[in-house]
């Protein structure tokens, strides 16, 4: 187990840029962007400070405490989604991490160094899987949570400067504190959902002699195009759309957090009026409902099988 810890540490050393600095920079840019917008708005340029399309300055004078609270509620709902850019960057970074995980070491021949140490192919490949679906998302989550809290503070301060005090409502609304926990509760589902893409990319990474990106993307996409073409020509009655969505989409797109929501086509209505807490709960509930369906489990099983192939490939590959 100690070896495994060092293998994870090793991945962190190598990929600190993609999984620590990248989300941190994105978070910092988002904070800076919001802060600057607020400052510009408060300084009187344009038509005043707007949050969620509501002109604060105009409202401020006439706002009742109930209205202020409703406004805060509306703001909190969007705040869980504020950090989406960090998770999109995470998806991209995990995609390329897996694609290079077993390829780069062969290209620069450092695989000969790693293989000169008493570390099994199992442990090596599994450490990369755990890093991709465990460590990396957790790091992104921590940075995202800190970022969203800072942004909430900035907006609250800006609103206060415009004459609306939403501090109280925001700080006493349970959604403020529950939202990060809800995001954290999605991480296990994300880990399982991402497995087919992780497995596919690791397998290509262990197998390809050159250009892993081309192989990883071209093989499924070409298969899809061939199927679409054959279907159009011969009308075989194959459900091509299903193939694109459930095979190609799952192979290439499952590392993007929340990808399952678009697959299920049941995105919550952003103005359901049921309050911030329930709105995000719906996302959480939908995510965990995946456990009851076959899609998540079949994908995870396929991912595990491909990870196994990647392990064997790493063992068999003759290092030129």
């Amino acid at each position: 187990m100690n070896t495994f810890k060092w293998l994870l540490q090793r991945e962190y050393w190598e990929h600190k840029g993609a999984f620590f600095w990248a989300p941190l920079v994105v978070g910092a840019l988002m904070t800076a962007f919001i802060t600057i917008s607020m400052v510009i708005a408060l300084s009187g340029a344009g038509d005043g400070l707007r949050i969620n399309g509501v002109n604060i300055a105009k409202l401020a004078a006439a706002m009742t405490p109930e209205q202020a609270s409703a406004f805060a509620e509306k703001f909190i709902f969007s705040y869980a989604g504020i950090t989406m850019p960090i998770f999109i960057v995470l998806g991209i970074c995990i995609f390329f991490f897996c694609l290079g995980a077993l390829f780069d070491e062969r290209r620069d021949r450092s695989v000969l160094f790693w293989k000169s140490l008493p570390i099994s192919d199992n442990a090596t490949v599994l450490s990369k899987v755990v890093f991709a679906i465990g460590i990396a998302p957790v790091m992104a989550f921590v940075i995202a949570t800190v970022t969203s809290l800072i942004i909430v503070l900035v907006v609250c301060v800006a609103a206060a400067a415009a004459g609306v005090n939403i501090f109280g409502s925001v700080m006493t609304n349970p959604a403020t504190y529950v939202a990060p926990l809800q995001i954290a509760a999605i991480l296990p589902i994300y880990a399982m959902w991402a497995l087919p893409t992780i497995g596919w990319l690791l397998m290509v990474s262990a197998w390809a002699r050159t250009k892993p990106l081309l192989w990883a993307v071209a093989v499924p996409v070409m298969a899809g195009i061939m199927m679409s073409w054959a279907e159009r020509l011969l009308s075989l009655g194959v459900d091509v759309a299903w193939f694109w969505k459930n095979i190609i989409g799952r192979l290439l797109g499952s590392v993007f957090p929340g990808a399952w929501l678009s697959v299920d086509k049941r995105m919550p209505e952003s103005d359901s009026g049921s309050g911030a807490l329930t709105a995000f709960s719906e996302v959480l509930q939908q995510s965990w409902q995946l456990l009851a369906g076959a899609n998540l489990w079949l994908g995870a099983a396929a991912g595990a099988a491909m990870i196994y192939v990647a392990i064997r490939l790493r063992g068999w590959r003759d290092e030129g």
């Binding site: 540490q9 000969l112 000169s116 099994s120 068999w316 003759d318």
Partner: protein, 285 residues
């Protein structure tokens, strides 16, 4: 003494090319073996099969294990440096030490730090900031701090200056080597390792051209400076090689009794380099 490496009919093909061709080999413990061969003779391929880095045909046992199946267990006892600088570019010196210390039960951190103290490497340096020679120094420092039963060095001193090379082989012999260890070295700079070897293996076209201990070599091979008057007589003894030095013929004999040769001229034990050249004649023809 049990064999550290034991091979029967060891063969490795790349498509139609036979890189290692039915090698039978036994290397006992406590030896320093020089594996010498021209480029493309199968040295590195043979070592790769021993290290579990390439699949092969035939039988091969390293420390009693099949390297194809038990590479990770084997690597607790075996260390190797491959023929190219292969440390990952992002690795820092201190991280490299931490990592190897973390995963290798036989790694001695103090030794590694001592090895590094004699170089210009700093703990925070990354591999990508190092010169070729410095990367090799780091790799050697790590490997030499591991108490392995079998050490495989494939061109270990490539890119190092002569000072460091001398120092390295000295260190290898005096501080690292003992009766429980076996070392296999390949290098093109044969003269530099000549004095530390106990055994010699010449490999050519994937086959063993010569396997002998250094003592046997001393007994079997003689080099004679033959004056012009004796050359015809000497040639009748079938020298395996003949070259001209300052107008005198220098002939190399295999298995001719020393007293016979002493009658012909000045006799001495040949250097490995000369023996190698004689054995490998015609390689590039």
């Amino acid at each position: 003494m049990s064999a550290v490496i034991s091979a029967r009919g060891l063969t490795k093909r790349y498509g139609k090319v036979v890189a290692v061709d039915h090698i039978d080999l036994d290397i006992p413990s406590g030896r320093i073996v020089g594996l010498i061969g021209p480029n493309g003779s199968g040295k590195t391929t043979a070592l790769k099969t021993i290290l579990g880095l390439a699949p092969f045909e035939g039988e091969l046992s390293v420390l009693g294990m099949d390297p194809r199946l038990h590479r990770d267990a084997l690597m607790e006892q075996v260390c190797f440096i491959a023929d190219v600088a292969i440390l990952p570019r992002w690795l820092r010196v201190q991280d490299a030490i931490d990592f190897v210390a973390g995963v290798h039960p036989k790694f001695n951190r103090v030794k590694a730090e001592q090895n590094l103290a004699s170089t210009k490497l700093k703990p925070t340096m990354r591999v990508k900031e190092m010169s070729k020679g410095m990367i090799v120094q780091l790799h050697l420092a790590l490997v030499m701090a591991i108490d392995a039963k079998l050490l495989v060095l494939d061109e270990p001193t490539l890119g190092l200056d002569i000072l460091y090379r001398k120092q390295f082989y000295q260190h290898l012999l005096e501080d690292y080597f003992d009766q429980n260890k076996t070392i296999i070295v390949t290098t093109h700079q044969v003269e530099e390792i000549e004095h530390i070897l106990t055994d010699l293996i010449f490999i050519r076209d994937g086959k063993l051209a010569l396997t002998a201990t250094m003592d046997e070599i001393g007994r079997r091979f003689c080099e004679v400076m033959v004056p012009a008057a004796n050359t015809d007589v000497a040639r009748q003894l079938n020298p395996i090689d003949e070259r001209q030095v300052f107008g005198k013929a220098v002939m190399l004999f295999d298995g001719v009794p020393r007293p016979v040769l002493e009658a012909l001229g000045e006799v001495r034990t040949p250097g490995i380099a000369d023996l190698f050249v004689a054995t490998m004649k015609g390689t590039y023809v």
